[in-house]
Structure formats: C-alpha cells, structure tokens
C-alpha cells in the first residue's frame, strides 16, 4: 500500500482566497493510500520545506503531492527537498491549484471542488510513479565553432583562454567573415580590420585552437556532451605545412575571376588568399576555374613555388572529430538581388558589356542592367576601405569617377512585407549614417542624401552618432524612393519627402542601398545538418526568446551572432561570449547528469513503421536490429537515445502501437489520472 503525503499550500492568500485548503486537505486524507496531510501558508518557505522533509522521514512517505503553484515554479524545489530527505525525486508531483485553479476562479466553492479533483487526480497518478534515476553520461570536453567570423572568433578565444580545446570550421579560405570586409565600424569609426586581424592572428597562434579553414561541417551525429562531427576539408591543392605564404603563386597566376571578398568589384587570381591579412595565409586553388585542374594547362604556380607545396592531385579529406558542445556562428549575408526592386537590377558582379542577349531579355526594364553605380552596403564598405580595390578612395564602379552626389536608401528589402522581409534589419540606420560620414570625410565637397522610413538608433552612443552624421552634412529625407533611372551619366532618383509632402528628384552619381541582413543562403540546410530549429526566414531559433537566448532547440548546441537574428558587432560579441560561458558551464563537470524523463521503447511491441523517427525533432530515435541469442537478426525496432531525448513526447502521440512511453508520464500514470477525474461519455 502506498504511503502518500499531500501538502496543500495556501500561498499566503493567493490560493486560500478562492480555495478552502483545509477542506481540500481533509478530503485528501480520506483517499486511499494517503497517510499524511498538511495545510500550510507557504509550503515553499524554509519552514514549509522543513515540514515536508520531516514528514517524509518520520512517516516514511513513499510519494508526495504538493498542491500548490505551477510545477514550473517549484517542482524542482520540492524534488530537491525530497531527495535531501531520502525520497526519490521523481516520486514527487505537483498539483497546480494556483495558476490553473485559484487564480482563474472567483467562487470559493468552485475553486475548492476543482482543487479536490486536481489533487485526487495526482494522488491516483502518483501510485504509478516509478523511482527514476538520472542518467550519467560521459562528456567530451572539446568544442566546435562553426563559422570563423567575429562571433566564432570571440567564442573560440573565450573558450581557449579558459583552457578548452576548440576547433573552428570556416568554409572560406580565411577567418574573418563579414566583419573583415568592413572599412570602419559605428559608432566610434575605428578601423574594422585593425581590431579584427589581431584577433584572427591570436586564434591562429593559440595552442588550444585548431582552425579548419576551407572546410565544411558535413554531418553531425550524437548528442550533448558526445557529438561526432564529420568535417570535409576541401582540397586547397596547397600543402598547408610547407606553404610559407610568400605570395609568389598568386602574384604570378595569369588567370582571374571575380573576387568574392571584394564583392565582385575587382578580380582575384585563381590561386588566391581572399585578402592580404588572411589567416591562415595559405592560398587555395579555385578548382572550378583553374585551367590546370580543368584542362591540364598552365601549372605556373607550381613552377614558381619555392617550397614545392602545390599538389594538383590533392583530394577532399574527411575528418571525424568528437565534441562535447557546438557553437553555431554562421553569420549573415545581404539580401541578394535587391537591385531588381529599383529597376536597376543587374546580375551579380556583371558589367553591362558582359551581358548576353538572353540576360538582357530577362532583365525587367529596358534601361535595367545598366545602373552599375547602384551598389549595396558591403560594396560601399569595400570602396571606402583602405585595403579595398580603390585604396580607400570612393570611386564609382562604372567609370571610376569620384561621385559628387550620393544617395543612400535605407530599409531596402527590410520592413517590407511585399517584396522583402518584414523584420527591421536593425543595423542599416547606423551603417548608413556611417557611410555618409565616410563619404563626407573622403569627398569634402560631396553631397549625400539619405532616404529613410524611420531612424532606429537604440544603442550606446548611437543616437549621438546619427546626429553627428547629420551635422557633418548628410541630408536626411523622410520618404521612400519609387524608382531609379539612368539620366546621362547620372542616376535619377525619384523619391518623396513625406514630411513636406513633395516629390523629390535627385540626380546622383552613385546610389547605395542599405540592404536587409538575411541569413546565409544555406542556413536551413545547416540547421537540418545540426538538427536545430529555424524560423521562416532561416534564422536559427533560440530555446526561449528571453531566458534562453543563446541555446538552440537541441541540447549542447549554442547560437552566436547574426545566424540567430540581425545583430551589430557589439551584440554579436556579447552573444558569442555568452555561448562560451554556457559551454564552460557544461564542461565544468566531468560527467553529465541527464533528466530521466525521456522516452523508452518497448522493442518487442515496436512494429518499426519509423513514424517516431520521422516526427522526432531532436533526431533522438535510431533504428536498431534485435538479435536472438545466437546472434541472428530477429527484428527491427526503434531505440531512443536518452542523451538526445528532450522528453517532448511527440513520439508517444505518433506511435499507434503504443510502444513508446515517456518515463514520468507513462500511459498508466496518465490513464490513472484521467480516470480519477472520471465521468461517463455515453
């Protein structure tokens, strides 16, 4: 016979106002199996908990119900207290008579009856509660950082400085990401590369950090504390260990193609490093363009290479490495193809001369494709950057002239439900203000106009920065631009000033679009590889928008930077450090304790339809072969990995044969709970 204790809490007056707790306690004492009841003002207080522990010890209780607030509030409190008193914590259940009863009813009679029912249901349920033990899982104290931009660099450095072995996987040939492209950063106008490159070098030189540049995460298996990553090291055709980074090869390479790093504004050689400060300073050969690899012609780089480190036969290499935690910092891109909206669309990195007849036909308007002087924010950053293609002189792409009038258009693609994304891209107001300043500093007699919807400058020193931009000569016009057309050598910007209600036409030499920040094009694929959630835009979803902003939906995977939502650099760095703190907390123990409230499979009953495998959002269910005693194959069955299972219960609902049970919420428990409430349906 069960020895159940029921502890009814008055919660000051919170519960007692609409529930006669003494009456509930009396009713419970009459139930089968209940040997002890208490009715107390604050069960969660220190004396309340002492009373709870004392009752367990003295009466030898083997299960306890606390009729109080939501289990979200104090389930852990009472389970810990029970553990301290020598009772298995999973033999404690909460009957929620506050949020689900006293707070939502006015009538004391109704509240009392409902509290009785809720508590009785838990009494019947707890008779089927089994003592559960937490799982002890091993832990690999090595972290993987996916993405080598500022977020990944920050997280890796923080972790390495705390003594954690870190690997960074970066798909480009160099670390740096988008931040390395920026010329100067708001709101202090310090040079981006000057603050970025020392950190890149620090990463490179840190003994605990391994950089896998020009590599991609291909597959992830395992679970929190015990991940296994399959990393594809793309063939560089250059032997890392021998290369000195002297530069002979990329200087001599006779072929070229558009530079991705320079946003296609200039060409780069086929054997290349993306930018001079690249880390690691090992070039890669672009195998889609190299004539030696494609047609076995040329091979000049191998001839000039002193240390003989060029190997045209190199293949992709697969590395399998175990990790305990993963930080995802895959960053953002600017919304592609926004030029189309303004009639100035052109294929990326394509000058009009190179347009084929077919492409011309595909273009939306007759003069479209010729507005090469309409550029996006990152392209402007490269034009303004001292290390950029123009050496820091702002020259327009079409003819290289210094533009006298520049129009900046804010909110291109963002806050636009029809043609773009509905969210605010957040950083554009600030970087547009920065661009006007960079332009004014470079071209003193120039004139800059900003067409904006609203100015959003919430941040330390941000509002002041906008004011400074206006003081330095930028003319802000509140209104949208309807279209851009070519007028001689200039671009006619047709816009409106909604404050004066007048149409505004500006003849500009160059137009800069503050294009919306969107996730990387393959972010959904990355999310699926990692098994984490993502929203409709492709941003990775955090576990809780307020209280768990850096955790992904999967345990042990954390999110840093713009892959989670639009962010500026300070926020990105802060979030990256936050993920490092989370990883350190995870790594602070030698083993992991996992909640035992996970699903288990009755493998004999399992009919292997794999519906559970299809629905599991955590990839926690595997297909396993059952063998007989002679080792012969007998049948297939599902197996739930307790390290991965989060106890959501979706597999239970999908399983027709009722072969899966969620421990702590077994069919017997739930059935007993429901039937205790009772009532005939027909």
């Amino acid at each position: 016979m069960a020895k159940i204790g029921v502890f009814v809490c008055q919660c000051g007056n919170n519960i007692a106002r609409t529930v006669d707790t003494a009456e509930v306690a009396k009713y419970c004492s009459e139930q089968d199996g209940v040997v002890h009841v208490e009715d107390y003002k604050f069960m969660c207080s220190a004396p309340g908990q002492e009373m709870f522990k004392k009752a367990i010890k003295e009466k030898g209780l083997d299960a306890c119900i606390v009729s109080a607030c939501s289990p979200k509030m104090h389930e852990a409190t009472f389970r810990n207290a029970a553990e301290a008193a020598g009772l298995n914590p999973f033999k404690v259940e909460i009957a929620n008579i506050r949020e689900q009863c006293s707070w939502v009813h006015d009538d004391k009679e109704v509240g009392t009856v409902k509290s009785k029912d809720l508590t009785k249901m838990m009494i019947e349920r707890i008779k089927f509660n089994k003592p559960l033990e937490r799982y002890v899982m091993p832990l690999t104290k090595r972290a993987l950082v996916v993405g080598g931009g500022i977020a990944g660099i920050q997280a890796a450095l923080d972790l390495a400085q705390a003594g954690v072995d870190v690997h960074i996987v970066e798909r480009e040939p160099s670390l740096g990401g988008n931040m390395a492209r920026l010329s100067e950063t708001f709101p202090t106008l310090d040079c981006s590369q000057c603050i970025m490159t020392p950190r890149m070098v620090e990463v490179q030189n840190h003994p605990l950090i391994t950089v896998h540049a020009y590599a991609e995460l291909e597959q992830l298996s395992g679970f929190i504390g015990n991940f296994r990553a399959r990393i594809r090291q793309k063939a560089k055709f250059v032997i890392d260990d021998l290369c000195t980074g002297c530069g002979e090869c990329w200087e001599k390479c006779p072929f070229s193609t558009e530079s991705e790093f320079e946003m296609g504004l200039v060409k780069r050689p086929i054997i290349y490093i993306p930018f001079p400060q690249a880390v690691p300073t090992v070039p890669v050969i672009d195998k889609t363009e190299c004539p030696k690899i494609l047609k076995d012609k040329c091979g000049l780089c191998a001839d000039v290479c002193g240390p003989d480190c060029i190997d045209f036969t190199q293949q992709d290499e697969i590395k399998e490495i175990d990790f305990g935690a993963i930080i995802v910092a895959t960053g953002f891109q600017l919304m592609p193809n926004v030029y189309r909206e303004y009639g100035g669309w052109r294929p990326p990195h394509m000058t009009p001369k190179k347009l084929t007849a077919k492409m011309r036909k595909a273009l939306p308007r007759s003069d479209a494709g010729r507005l090469v002087d309409v550029i996006n924010g990152l392209e402007f950053e490269r034009l303004a950057s001292a290390s950029g293609p123009t050496g820091g002189q702002i020259r327009r792409p079409s003819d290289g002239k210094i533009p006298e009038v520049v129009v900046f258009i804010a909110c291109v693609g963002s806050r636009d439900c029809n043609k773009g994304v509905e969210y605010c891209s957040k950083i554009c107001c600030m970087y547009t203000a920065k661009h006007t300043m960079l332009y004014q500093h470079a071209v003193h007699h120039g004139k800059s106009y900003v067409f904006y919807m609203d100015i959003r400058a919430g941040g330390k020193g941000y509002e002041e920065f906008i004011n400074r931009a206006q003081d330095e000569g930028a003319q802000y016009i509140r209104g949208r631009v309807s279209r851009l057309t070519k007028k001689g050598e200039k671009i006619l910007v047709k816009g409106a000033d909604t404050l004066t209600g007048q149409a505004v036409d500006v003849e500009a030499d160059m137009v800069v679009l503050a294009t919306a920040m969107v996730p990387q094009g393959d972010s959904e694929q990355v999310a699926q590889t990692l098994g984490i959630g993502y929203d409709k835009h492709g941003f990775f979803s955090e576990q809780h928008p307020k209280l768990m902003p850096v955790e992904s939906s999967t345990g042990g995977i954390f999110l840093a930077g713009a892959c989670q939502s639009v962010k500026d650099i300070p926020e990105t760095v802060a979030q990256a450090s936050a993920t490092a703190a989370k990883v350190l907390a995870l790594f602070s123990k030698d083993e992991m304790m996992r909640d035992p409230e996970v699903a288990i499979v009755d493998q004999e009953k399992c009919m292997n339809c794999w519906d559970c495998v299809t629905v599991c959002p955590y990839l926690a269910i595997d297909r396993v072969e059952l063998k007989d005693r002679n080792g012969n194959f007998r049948k297939w069955a599902a197996y739930v990995n307790p390290g991965l299972c989060q106890g959501c219960g979706i597999c239970n609902t999908a399983c027709r044969s009722k072969s899966i049970e969620l421990m702590g919420y077994t069919n017997e428990q739930v059935y007993a709970q429901i039937t205790a409430f009772g009532g005939d349906i027909i």
Partner: protein, 297 residues
C-alpha cells in the same frame, strides 16, 4: 489476360524467382472466389481473375500474419489497382520491402460489392462503391502487366466517396450521432474489421492493451465507440480504401464510412493520397511549411 498472368506466374515459379504466388481461385460456390497460395508451377492453372475477386490480398503481406513467417523470401501477388495501393502504402510504412514482392498487375473493371450480389455480370446495381471513379483500373505500380499500360492521369482527388458519406454529412450533428448509436448497437466487437485490414499492423493492438486498458473490451456503447473511433483515427492518411472492413462485418455495419470521410478530409487539407508513393510519409506525422492552419482558431 489471365493466360498471360498464369504464364508469367509459371515462369516465376519454375525459375525460382519467387517462392509463392498469391492470387484468386474458384471458391466454394459459383458466386465466390478464394485467395490461393500457389507454390508449384503446375498449379498456376487454378489462378483466375474476374469481378468476383474482391478479397484484398495484400493482407497476407502484412507482418502481423503468419504467412510472412514461413520463410518465403519473395512473393508474387496478383494485384488489382486498389490492392496495389495497399501494397505501396505497406512499403511506405516500412512493413514491406519493394524487392520482397513481385506485383502481377491486372486490368480491373471493378468488382462486386459483395459475393451475394453476383448475378453473372457486373453492373451498376452490384458494383462496389470504391470502383466508381477509380483511377487505378490500370494499376500504377507493377512488375508485370499483361499488354500495354496506358498512361492515366492520377492527379485528381481520390475516387468518389460513397453516397452514404454525403448523405450522412448532410444530417444534423445529433441525427448523425443517433445514426451511429443505432448502427453501433449491433457491433459485438468481433474485430473482423481489424483482422481484414491490410494496414492494421501493430503486434499488439491498442484494443488488446491491458496496462492500461485504453479501450473498454466490453461491447457496450463506450467500448464500441472508443474502438471504432480509435480505428478510424489510426487509419487517417493511411487507409487506401479497399472497403474490406465493411464487407467483412458480419453485422453489416458500414465501418468504412469513417475512413472514407477521413480520406476526404486528408485529401482536402493536405492534398495527400495514400498508396501512390513508395516514400511519402502520411500527413499526420509530417510537417510542411505550407500545411493548412486555418483550423487553428
């Protein structure tokens, strides 16, 4: 037509390509046919096919049944379109592998609704309701088909649901409930509907569960209602509409009305037709971004 099938079956058995051929043979009286398992090449002459062949043979491919445990590696099966839908669905649900079976497709002009209705020919008076508007009279997934297989447009919705469903849906809610109360009064829970269903593949049926006993085993209204509603829910997006449950019911309860209605709902809501794809999972366990959400109020 049947000669070509017999020859192919003979060839398969003689070459040892298959261990058994499941088909139809003459039954105990002229209006009936019986399923037959042929293991010797000389027996293939027994195979027949005509509108009396109403049994759903894929039932025997279901792992729940003894036949799959006889050690037969490869089975040839005569399939009319609706049965092949059931086979395809079994494969999609991982209850069967495509290379374990050899499908002998037959051109079908419809079958009778019940052997008792057979009067020597098939006509509108005795045709099974599932055959009206059928789009798999030329089967969709076969290994062998006598003659040429014409292209058929199968993009249209499922075959017409029986008129009885529409009639029932027109009734007021309480009248509809009254209909089922009277109809289910006759059910004594023999579970023929379950035993004949090619898709009921659980090792232990939920109705046989005892810890806890989700479905009251007694044949009172509560037990009967919870059984039939659970059965209907378990077949949502999976039922391929062979109509065997209604035919097998000794009390003449039209239990497949539920399934037909569910099939309509699934088709309308998710544009999903079970039994046409070897890979697609049914809509209740899959999520697509463009899934209908208008029922969430």
């Amino acid at each position: 037509m049947i000669e070509a099938i017999r020859n192919q079956a003979r060839l398969l058995l003689e070459n040892g390509d298959v261990d058994v051929v499941i088909g139809y043979a003459e039954g105990s009286d002229p209006s009936r046919t019986t399923p037959i398992f042929i293991r010797k090449a000389e027996d293939v002459e027994k195979l027949i096919y005509d509108p009396r062949c109403i049994n759903s043979l894929p039932l025997y491919l279901n792992k729940r049944h003894e036949y799959t445990r006889k050690g037969w590696k490869k089975t040839a099966i005569i399939g009319k379109g609706c049965d092949i839908r059931a086979i395809v669905q079994l494969i999609a649900e991982n209850q069967l592998k495509r290379d374990e079976i050899y499908i002998l497709g037959v051109p079908c002009e419809g079958v009778v609704s019940h052997p008792e209705k057979w009067d020597g020919s098939l006509h509108d008076g005795n045709r099974a309701s599932k055959c009206i508007g059928c789009d798999v009279m030329t089967p969709h997934e076969t290994d062998f088909f006598p003659g040429d297989k014409p292209d058929v447009d199968r993009s249209t919705p499922y075959e017409a649901t029986s008129k009885n469903v529409a009639t029932l849906m027109e009734l007021e809610l309480d009248k509809r409930f009254a209909f089922w109360r009277t109809d289910f009064d006759r059910c004594f829970k023999c579970y023929a509907c379950r035993e004949v269903c090619p898709h009921c593949s659980c090792n232990t049926c939920i109705t046989d569960e005892t810890t806890p006993s989700w479905i009251d085993p007694a044949a009172h209204k509560k037990g009967v209602f919870s059984w039939h509603l659970t059965r209907a829910m378990h077949l949502v997006g999976r039922c391929t509409g062979c109509g065997e449950c209604t035919r097998a019911c000794p009390m003449g309860i039209q239990v497949d009305l539920f399934n037909q209605r569910m099939k309509e709902v699934v088709q309308e809501s998710y544009s999903y037709k079970p039994g046409y794809s070897l890979e697609d999972k049914h809509p209740l366990i899959t999520y697509k971004v463009d899934d209908r959400e208008d029922f969430i109020k």
